[in-house]
Amino acid sequence: MPDALPERRITLTVNGKEHSAVTEDRYSLADFLRHGLGLTGTHLGCEHGVCGACTVLVDGEAVRGCLMLAVQAEGRQVTTIEGLAGDDGTLSPLQAAFMDNHGLQCGFCTPGILTTLTAYLRDNPDADEPELREALSGNICRCTGYDTIVRAALAAADAMRKGATA
């Protein structure tokens, strides 16, 4: 073990806002967002890369926040659940669809599911149910049994095709 705990300053953009902060080298991006920046909307459900609760978007793509180091996000654009709604607080079509379709119960898995689906629906606006289920297969939800999540995603895709935005 090194004598002094290695740390460094990183600068990155989170939800459109630039942040500069010191982090220990070993901090995961999720830990840094939560404890370094106080953005506790990103959750940790397993810290070994299976549950998907920690999913955030890095340069627009969904990644496991527990398997990427904060220092690797230097200069990157990160989007978390806190950044999905419009600037005025209007829920994104996906968030609104989750509310309308009861897509969440305890809400602990929800941040990772919303970020995953935000990227997926952007790239696959016409996704059907089997495709959505596969896209969701890296996110575990213990409460809902997934049905309402799938309904919400389908409803959001439909709303977005009709022009809804956050």
């Binding site: 073990m1 290695p6 070993r26 496991r64 596969e134």
Partner: protein, 291 residues
């Protein structure tokens, strides 16, 4: 579940990475991190230095030329999955990559990372073995090439020396008229397979098998090329009896067994998967021959 402390080093170029790898003690290379970070979080792995290859653009990307395919080590799994040219010349890669983890892990996970980690059930090392690929390892002393057949030295132990960086994977594409199939068995999509099989087949003008390659994953310390099965295919006309015989042969091979998956079940699965895989590869071979 937080990793033990380490010092992070960002390598901006291959030369810089090689220098770091040569000089830093108890160091590990970080590529996609989709296995390594999890093992570090669990404190199964602790290092003093982590050398990040992610910024090293020169070892990322796909090149295809005169039948030879080269994948840079830092090519993301998602890129391999979605690359159209690769899907045309080497369709089995797309089929296999579809089983690798989930979108979130494929966005970060890399070709080189998977090969260096060498999980016995991993798809990419299996593909490398099936395609008879060659691996390039680069250090300050230059580059070294290793045939995939010689690369696994034991359970999760690749032939990578101190100071070496896995930089490329290259192989010859099969002729455009070939059949392919990859399948594996896990209870859930994206999990490591209890067993998996990949097959490549070409047929001669009489419809007889004139070239066959088969790989098994998840059944032994590393990917397995069953030469006996490959040999018994040659010159044969595809038939259910042939595939069954191949399945029966493979099911007799000693395999790994553990508390969760027994050897007998792995053998059984391998036999079933092989039979189905060969059958589908032969159908596709015949379709592509007539296309």
């Amino acid at each position: 579940m937080k990793p033990a402390p380490f010092t992070y080093h960002r390598a901006e170029s291959l030369a810089e990475a090689a220098e770091m790898a040569a000089t830093l003690d108890n160091a590990r290379l970080l590529s996609g991190g989709q296995s390594l970070m999890a093992m570090m979080n669990l404190r199964y792995v602790a290092v003093d230095h982590l050398i990040d290859l992610n910024p090293v653009a020169e070892i990322a990307g796909i090149t295809i030329g005169s039948g030879r395919v080269t994948l840079g080590a830092m090519t993301r799994q998602r890129t391999v999955l979605e690359d159209a040219a690769l899907a045309t010349c080497c369709p089995i890669l797309r089929e296999a990559l579809g089983f690798v983890g989930h979108v979130q892990t494929r966005n970060r996970g890399t070709v080189g990372g998977s090969l260096a980690h060498l999980d016995p059930a991993a798809e990419l090392p299996g593909m490398a073995a099936l395609l008879g690929a060659e691996i390039t390892l680069t250090s300050q002393d230059g580059a070294r090439r290793v045939a995939m057949a010689d690369y696994p030295l034991g359970y999760m132990t690749p032939d990578i020396n101190e100071g070496e960086i896995l930089t490329t994977l290259s192989f010859d594409a099969w002729p455009s008229a070939h059949g392919w199939d990859f399948r594996e068995f896990a209870q859930r999509h994206g999990d490591f397979a209890m067993a998996g099989v990949g097959s490549l087949i070409t047929l001669d003008t009489d419809g007889r098998i004139d070239r066959a390659a088969v790989v098994l994953i998840g059944v032994d310390d590393g990917p397995v090329r069953p030469t006996d099965v490959e040999a018994m295919m040659i010159g044969e006309t595809p038939s259910d009896a042939l595939f069954r015989a191949a399945g029966a042969l493979i099911a007799e091979r000693p395999m790994a067994g553990d508390a969760l998956v027994t050897e007998a079940y792995r053998q059984h699965l391998a036999g079933v998967l092989l039979r189905r895989s060969l059958a589908n590869a032969c159908v596709r071979a015949s379709e592509s021959a007539h296309a």
